[in-house]
Amino acid sequence: MSRAIRFAPLALLLIVILALVWRLATPADTTVSSKLEGQPLPVFQLAAAVPPKAALETADFATGQPRILNIFASWCVPCISEVKVLQGLKRRGVHIDGIAIRDRPQDVAAFLDRNGDPYERIGADPQSALQIALGSSGVPESFIVDGEGIIRYQHIGPIEASDVPKILKKLEEAR
């Protein structure tokens, strides 16, 4: 058997391994990339989602402290389990504000009654206009905004218990 044939499989293996190594080193990115990390929050002023609880506007994020901006809805199923995690974060002293998208005040109120309320302020975004402006692709989604109103991190999907260490780290970095 010629040397070429005997060593061919090895050569092929090398090429395949190289490709796989490359892939492991550079993971695929999400379909909708976060273009807003490092950008300031868009200017907005939302009405209160659940009066008399405070409404939400851009100026609320220039407090000098990093805050979490959480996009949720009463009809969003994964949001139910996320509330518990958010409350855990709130107990650690994290400031969380919410945006309720495409929702009605009575439904949001019922959701908070049933599952708990980790939010300091909740703004209403009935047409999801702000959600799109934030480049958010779904619900729930959270943003870490630093003390000067710059978006520092976008977390897609519900924040689970296993994500908490990363969230806390990002909050620290945003100081």
Partner: protein
């Protein structure tokens, strides 16, 4: 306590694997006889790994939430059988299962092999231990299944409804036994390359292992296909998804290996092919495992890859497969060719069979990894799916199917008789079906148009080896071959019928309205809310008839909360000539419901064929093993010079 016992057993097993490997090195370099010792070590290693796995099953059975894995993957409310299945329904647990089967196979190899060259067997046991060592290391360093979670939470996270399904719960173990069974072939090949004893005896030793692994792989793939068919809700049975390809590729290699072994066993020929295929088959098992667990080939919108796991597995893959390929490259020149054969002979037929299967394997492999290569080189994102695989591999598979009908009729070495005369009947059958298909179904796709006659030809040709002789006197292995080849034909018929004659209807239907599909008239009686153990659902009651009696079907859409998800439960009714497949969709503002119906004639033949193929393998295995056991065990007396 139980978890710690399991962990301790795992460490001990790893230690013994190291010892087993050392014994092989000693045996190859000195004249010491380690036969008894290495077998004992292999046996104890297997027992220890099994102990560790049993400990894992126990903590799951008891819902011990202080074990992190149980917390992540189980819940006290789970039905008992799924608590057990939860043990292997996750990364760490399935890796433990993998290593248990690996070391168990090694133990059986040591204890049950009778007709193998002693030196080769010792080398094979060492190779098997080397394989196990890498996985033990992976488990103990990066994927400890017994890690504790303290303080123990009251209940677990794992009530994923998708995993609470009998097919899915038991499909992974079947596949694993298949994948890991191929490791024995790999080890025997490596052992034989090391000792130079590549001959018919080796082939006979490898055969039952390959047959067993191949049979289980066939069953696993068939079961997986049926699961996807009824669970995913739109009647497809194969998607060329990387996860599916990960199980198909070892199967293709194993099929080629199986046939190559037969040539080596009967004629002493095709040594190089057989050794290479044995290495490739298990390599494909490893590639498959890597692809699935590292997450690198999940979809365009994946965002949770585990690079650490992937890197470890990739390293193991590179080491094992690389070492085997180097060994092959270096020792390949010493493989002396066996008895010569003519152009028209069974050997040639099997060489062509090997070639075609290897090419199809290459095509599937290329298609699966191509998106990766392209993105690495040009950054372009693309996906390769059914259009590629069907167009490229399909025709080759059909050519192969025709050869499957002809090959078994050829004699070894030199075919003198007019074989093609025997094939006139099956050939006529095929041609007739081909012609009729134009009359019955003028608008059929090319693949089913050609596939159906080929399948009918194969069905007729596959039984020919038993025709003209006393079937009861034929060797059991021949029966196995006939049944398996017939199974291929049956499966092909099912696929062709499904592609050519499926009827589908999709419409909005209000209660008390009907929708027709194929010969069926389906009435939507009503849609009511309902609930199950851990879900709420809306259920449609459908009344279907095609003239003789009414069948009731109840498709559902289910909503789960823990974790939150929505699934579609199709309602399927099976008849002698097909399946009625019904799915309910979303409601309409006008009070109607989206309803999707399929009538799939003879679709069940696809999986019936798969079961037949596996049955053929099982029959052949019984035949071979029985014949082998009648000879006296040689290892007790053989000493090497």
């Amino acid at each position: 306590m139980i978890a710690e016992t399991g962990l301790a057993a795992l460490w001990l097993a790893a230690g013994l694997a190291a010892l087993q490997f050392l014994l092989m090195v000693i045996a190859l370099r000195t004249t010491l006889d380690v036969g008894r010792t290495i077998r004992a070590v292999a046996a104890v290693q297997g027992a220890l790994a099994l102990t560790a796995f049993v400990m894992l099953l126990l903590v799951f059975a008891r819902s011990d939430m202080s074990v992190a894995l149980v917390f992540e993957n189980s819940h006290t409310a789970k039905p008992f059988i799924y608590k057990i299945a939860g043990a292997w329904g996750n990364h760490e647990g399935s890796m433990l299962l993998w290593v248990t089967v690996l070391s168990g196979a090694g133990a059986c190899l040591g204890l049950l092999s009778r007709q193998t060259h002693e030196r080769t067997l010792v080398a094979a046991l060492g190779a098997q231990a080397a394989l196990a060592l890498g996985f033990y290391a992976f488990l103990l360093i990066a994927s400890n299944p017994f890690a504790r979670l303290l303080p123990a939470p009251p209940n677990g996270k794992g009530l994923n409804p998708l995993l609470q399904d009998p097919g899915l719960a038991f499909h992974p173990p079947t596949l694993y036994f298949g994948y890991v069974g191929l490791s024995v072939a790999f080890s025997l090949a490596v052992g034989a390359l090391l000792t130079g004893e590549v001959d018919a005896k080796l082939a006979r030793a490898m055969r039952p292992w390959v047959l067993g692994a191949w049979t289980l792989l066939t069953l696993g793939i068939t079961a997986g296909s049926y699961w996807a068919y009824y669970e995913l809700g739109w009647g497809g049975y194969w998607f060329w998804d990387p996860v599916e390809n990960a199980s198909l590729m070892p199967w293709l290699a194993a099929t080629a290996l199986l046939h190559s072994i037969n040539v080596l066993a009967a004629r002493g020929a095709l040594k190089a092919w057989t050794m290479m295929l044995a290495v490739v088959a298990f390599s494909m098992s490893m590639v498959g495992t890597f692809l699935v667990r590292s997450g690198i080939l999940t979809s365009v919108h994946a965002f949770a890859i585990d690079p650490q796991r992937g890197t470890f597995l990739l390293a193991l893959l590179a080491i094992y497969v690389g070492a085997a390929f180097i060994l092959f490259a270096v020792r390949g020149a010493t493989l002396k060719e066996g008895a010569p054969f003519e152009l028209v002979s069974r050997e040639t037929g099997l060489v062509v069979n090997n070639l075609l299967l290897s090419v199809i394997l290459g095509i599937v492999f290329l298609g699966t990894l191509y998106p990766l290569f392209v993105e690495a080189v040009s950054g372009e994102k693309l996906s390769v799916g059914a259009p590629y695989f069907n167009a490229v591999a399909g025709p080759l598979a059909l050519v192969l199917a025709i050869l499957v009908g002809i090959g078994p009729l050829l004699s070894w070495r030199r075919e003198r008789r007019p074989v093609f005369k025997q094939l006139t009947v099956p050939a006529l059958l095929g041609v007739t079906v081909f012609v009729i298909s134009f009359i019955v179904a003028p608008a059929m796709g090319v693949l089913p148009r050609v596939g159906l006659p080929v399948a009918m030809f194969l069905a007729g040709a596959s039984i020919l080896p038993l025709v003209g002789r006393n079937p009861l006197r034929a060797p059991i292995a021949t029966w196995g071959m006939v049944v398996a080849h017939l199974g291929i034909a049956v499966s092909l018929v099912g696929m062709a019928m499904n592609a050519a004659f499926t009827s589908e209807r999709l419409a909005v239907v209000r209660p008390n309205e009907t929708l027709t599909v194929g010969p069926w008239t389906v009435l939507l009686k009503e849609v009511t809310p309902t609930a199950g153990q851990n879900f709420t659902a809306i259920e449609a009651e459908l009344r279907a008839t095609r003239g003789d009696g009414i069948k009731v079907l109840k498709p559902q859409t289910r909503y789960f909360t823990d974790p939150p998800m929505e699934t579609n439960e199709a309602a399927i009714d099976t008849f002698w000539n097909g399946q009625l497949y019904t799915v309910i969709g979303k409601p309409d503002p006008s009070g109607g419901w989206q309803l999707r119906l399929w009538w799939k004639p003879f679709v069940t033949l696809i999986w019936a064929g798969g079961v037949l193929i596996a049955l053929g393998g099982a029959i052949a295995m019984t035949g071979r093993v029985r014949r082998q056991r009648r000879r006296k065990p040689e290892w007790r007396k053989e000493r090497y010079a």
